[in-house]
């Protein structure tokens, strides 16, 4: 989780990702951010985030993203 | 209780909106009381007392060329012209069908020049011939037979859809004649007293094909059958207008048709001398249409013909008709005086 928050803050230093929800619905993260995020996550966690996981629900908060990472890890 | 209140309120609102739109529609429709009056002809018929001996159907070659007043005053023939601008043959049929809902004349006179048009040529003329009709199966038939490709039936039902943009050119007459009309014809006759001699009338250009279209023939048959069914004599005529050019090949087809169907056919172009027409004084636009003088001469000739051929009874002396015609004659004479002054004649 710490690692994820670091990645996020690196992307958008002005946002407090620990508390912010609705990252997608409020337009905090755009599609380019998401792709950047996905490549960072893949790199750091050594998992393949396929397009099927890229849904608003999975990216709406740091917690949701974390849950997604865990799901992918468990699956692999 | 609340629900009922809503329904009443809604119905009332709807009624008000419909009334508002109806008023708007009346306002926006062309009134045809000045300038172009041809659009008012068709509706005028309904104001008449419908007891005519002779009905004319056709285009300007009937409504400008025959004076019913002369037919009455000289022969006691009570006639009416159901004419309209460029009336196509299918429109003539439906206008006749419409008139026969109210009366059954002895003779119907049809000017065959519209045989040359197999389908409607102009939306504006469709409008002027159809809009004045009262709603009846005949009107529906007339619309369906007349509509050009880009026309819509619903625009005849709600003419506001057709005339919606006329708000830009509303004139005082549009308000004045929203609910009333002004008579513009005398039993369908459109009077002009001025004269412009016919000079250098061009010969018709040769055509590739002289035969009339099948749709036009179909409606001539329908007119014939309708008259036969009602026991009405049908007289075909070609008025003596020099232009548009009337081809001999066309004339032959009409003669053949009349002969084969046992109908009479008069081509006035062939008998101008017998009628006594003088193209220097009897036309107001160089030979296209007759003026008053020409129309009265033609009516005189036709009256004698009708009496002789169809044994029409002289109805002068019928007190009721005499009274009606006395009034009409007064208006007729007043119009002559007005126009003479307008054109600076005599």
């Amino acid at each position: 989780m710490e690692e994820l928050l670091e990645i996020l803050e690196d992307l958008h230093p002005e946002v407090d990702f620990e508390t912010t929800e609705n990252l997608i619905t409020d337009g905090v993260l755009d599609s380019l951010d998401i792709v950047t995020l996905v490549s960072e996550i893949s790199e750091n966690f050594d998992i393949a985030v396929s397009a099927k996981y890229i849904t608003p629900a999975n990216f709406n908060s740091a917690k949701a993203i974390w849950n997604m990472i865990e799901t992918i890890q468990n699956e692999g | 209780m609340r629900k009922r209140k809503y329904i009443i309120r809604g119905a009332l609102t709807l009624a008000l909106i419909i009334a508002f739109l109806a008023l708007l529609q009346r306002l926006l429709m062309p009134k045809y009381v000045d300038g172009i009056v041809e659009g008012a002809f068709v509706a005028e018929y309904y104001k008449e007392e419908k007891d005519h001996d002779v009905l004319f159907i056709g285009d300007c070659e009937v409504y400008e060329n025959f004076s019913p007043k002369v037919l009455w005053e000289k022969y006691g023939i009570n006639s009416y012209i159901r004419g309209s601008a460029e009336q196509y043959i299918f429109q003539s049929y439906y206008l006749l069908e419409d008139a026969l809902r109210y009366e059954t004349p002895d003779v119907v006179v049809f000017n065959i020049q519209s045989l040359q048009f197999n389908e409607a040529q102009s939306e504006a003329y469709n409008r002027m011939s159809i809009e004045g009709m009262r709603w009846s199966p005949s009107k529906v038939g007339c619309i369906l037979a007349s509509m050009k490709e880009d026309e819509h039936f619903i625009e005849y039902v709600f003419p506001i859809l057709r005339y919606h943009s006329r708000w830009k050119e509303l004139k005082s007459t549009d308000f004045e004649y929203m609910f009333k009309t002004k008579p513009v014809t005398f039993n369908g006759y459109y009077m002009r007293v001025d004269a412009r001699p016919a000079e250098n009338v061009p010969k018709g250009k040769p055509l590739g094909d002289y035969s009339f279209g099948s749709n036009a023939w179909k409606y001539l048959d329908k007119i014939r059958d309708l008259c036969a069914k009602k026991g009405i004599d049908l007289l075909l005529i070609k008025a003596p207008s020099l232009y548009p050019y009337w081809y001999e090949e066309w004339n032959e087809q009409c003669e053949t048709y009349a002969r084969e169907n046992g109908l009479n056919y008069i081509n006035f172009l062939d008998i101008t001398e017998e009628v006594g027409l003088d193209y220097t004084t009897d036309t107001y636009d160089g030979g296209l249409h007759m003026n008053l003088s020409g129309a009265e001469k033609l009516a005189d000739y036709l009256g004698a013909y009708l009496q002789k051929e169809y044994g029409l009874e002289d109805r002068r002396g019928d007190a009721h008709l005499d009274a009606i015609w006395k009034e009409k004659a007064a208006a007729y004479d007043a119009e002559i005086a007005r126009q003479k002054e307008l054109y600076g004649l005599e």
Partner: protein
């Protein structure tokens, strides 16, 4: 059938009437019948295309879902089997791989088949004419005369989106073919979208029982009326001048091109959003909610924002089903790794993103129309977006230095700048030939006909002074409503909260306005009625 035709209005009225007459559980069946009938009006054979797509995607999705079920059951079975642990694991892995490969093959087959239909009817001639360009004279191939079936670009994307969703196991497959067919062919959608997702249609009550509700019907009618206002009063009036300018590239240059960019951009907005208003309004009348497709896009302060507010359903489709898969695909991931190693973290992760965006914008361009101008238009969008992405740090520093630039004045400046950029790019929508577009753009600086244009030329394009006044007033209304919706909320709700008399007058007034001022029908020209027979 056009939105602005009597037949469309008549069709909607009759269908809505019947819709509330039939029992609720049959309502969606009536819609399906109506939609098929609607489709038949567009040409008797066209319906075969949409039925083929519906059938293949429906069956394919169902089979894929079944395959996933089999996979789970079999794996469970294998895991229970009486085998040594490592053998068991190998067996599960082997089976999983085989089954997934089979499903992927089926998925690809259905996907490619439907894309091919679209490609053949929409792009054959584009392809042939490009080949002809290479072949040179004398050896030309003849073009095909294929009519484009109504809405094929929209419903194909919609069907493919569904197929991908099922393949990704994000939604269950629809069992009933007829329900699925309604989703693909629902008549307001096939004209110009929006491109719906299956769950949006389900949640929007497309298949639900929708009892008569006065609010739905009145709100729907209001939305339709508003759409007609935009289309008839503004767009269709402007189109006369726009078409005149586009129609003659040798006369209308220079100042006319600036005029065209502005007018076309307004027309496009009024026409497209008006059409979507009618679509959504028709659905609303039937108790069905469709997703919004626009969010006042011309208030955007950047192109990036614009693409979040313009044609939302299309953008979201391309993002979900093309951009994400491409940018998470193997080759792009590899590229990312390579770039990171070479250019460092920040640079490195951006380059692959630009590559995948390029693919997406190329596809978006060619989806809009089968010609080069649309491709160039798409790539222009890509270029501007990528450049502003690169300049992002610069902007950030600028705003840090000049905090006043966060104010209202700067925002308006940014809106105007974005609007002008869009006006410029829309020129690529107007002309098919790139050469024409470049020469016309050049003429803006060289033609020097500004005097002639303002000295009377503008009045000779088919619009009278009165037309310009009407357009101006129409735009003022549109702008007022847009500002209200941007800052306060729904205008319809606001009007609905007013007294009965007020709201009745407002809607009757708007109706009368559209009726009288709308640019529809033959138009009244008194000279046609002058009896003149020579």
């Amino acid at each position: 059938m056009l939105f602005t035709s009597y037949s469309f209005i008549g069709f909607v009225l009759v269908l809505s009437f019947l819709y509330y007459l039939v029992p609720g559980k049959h309502q969606w069946k009536l819609l399906l019948l109506g939609s098929w009938l609607f489709y038949l009006f567009s040409g008797p054979w066209n319906i075969l295309y949409i039925l083929t797509t519906s059938l293949t995607v429906w069956a394919g999705a169902l089979r894929i879902e079944k395959g996933y079920g089999e996979k789970k059951a079999r794996i469970k079975e294998l895991k229970k089997a009486d085998l040594p642990a490592d053998e068991k694991k190998a067996a599960v892995k082997a089976y999983k791989q085989k089954q997934e490969k089979d499903l992927r093959r089926l998925f690809t087959l259905v996907l490619v088949f439907n894309l091919l239909i679209l490609a053949v009817v929409k792009y054959s001639n584009f392809f042939i004419s490009n080949i002809n360009g290479l072949l040179g004279e004398g050896r030309q191939l003849s073009l095909l005369s294929l009519a484009l079936p109504m809405g094929i670009s929209f419903y194909t994307l919609q069907a493919i989106g569904y197929l991908i969703d099922v393949y990704r196991e994000t939604i269950p497959a629809e069992k009933n073919f007829f329900r699925f067919s309604l989703f693909i062919s629902f008549f307001p959608l096939v004209i110009q979208g929006p491109i719906c997702r299956f769950e949006e249609a389900t949640e929007g009550r497309l298949f639900a029982e929708n009892p008569f509700s006065w609010k739905n019907v009145s709100f729907g009618l209001e939305r339709i009326l508003w759409g007609f206002f935009k289309k008839l009063v503004i767009a269709d009036r402007i189109s006369a001048a726009v078409n005149t300018v586009i129609g003659d590239t040798s006369t209308y240059r220079g100042a006319y091109i600036l005029f065209l960019m502005l007018m076309y951009t307004i027309e496009l907005y009024a026409d497209f959003t008006g059409g979507i208003d009618i679509t959504i309004g028709v659905a609303e009348m039937l108790g069905i909610t469709l997703p919004e497709n626009f969010k006042r896009p011309y208030f955007s302060q950047s192109l990036k924002e614009y693409w979040r507010r313009w044609h939302i359903s299309m953008c979201s489709w391309f993002r979900t089903y093309l951009f994400y898969p491409v940018s998470t695909s193997g080759p792009i991931m590899k590229l990312t790794k390579a770039c990171r190693a070479r250019f460092g973290k920040n640079r490195g992760r951006k380059i692959p993103m630009y590559v995948s965006s390029f693919v997406v914008w190329f596809a978006t361009g060619i989806w809009h129309g089968a010609s080069w101008n649309f491709i160039v238009w798409g790539l222009l969008n890509w270029a501007v977006l990528m450049i502003s992405e690169e300049l992002e740090p610069l902007y950030a520093r600028f705003h840090e230095r000049f905090p006043w630039a966060e104010g209202r004045g700067y925002q308006v400046f940014a809106m105007v700048r974005t609007f002008l950029l869009i006006c410029f790019m829309n020129l690529f929508d107007c002309y098919a030939r790139i050469g024409d577009i470049l020469s016309l753009l050049g003429s803006v600086f060289t033609a020097g006909n500004y005097g002639a244009f303002f000295g009377g030329g503008v009045m000779e394009l088919g619009l009278t002074g009165l037309d310009f006044v009407i357009i101006g007033l129409g735009l003022a209304v549109l702008l007022g409503v847009s500002i209200y919706e941007e800052t306060k909320g729904s205008v319809r709700e606001m009007i609905a909260s007013r007294p009965y008399l007020v709201r009745t007058l407002v809607w009757t007034g708007l109706f009368t306005l559209v009726l009288l001022v709308g640019a529809y029908g033959a138009g009244y020209d008194a000279s046609q009625f002058i009896y003149n027979r020579f």
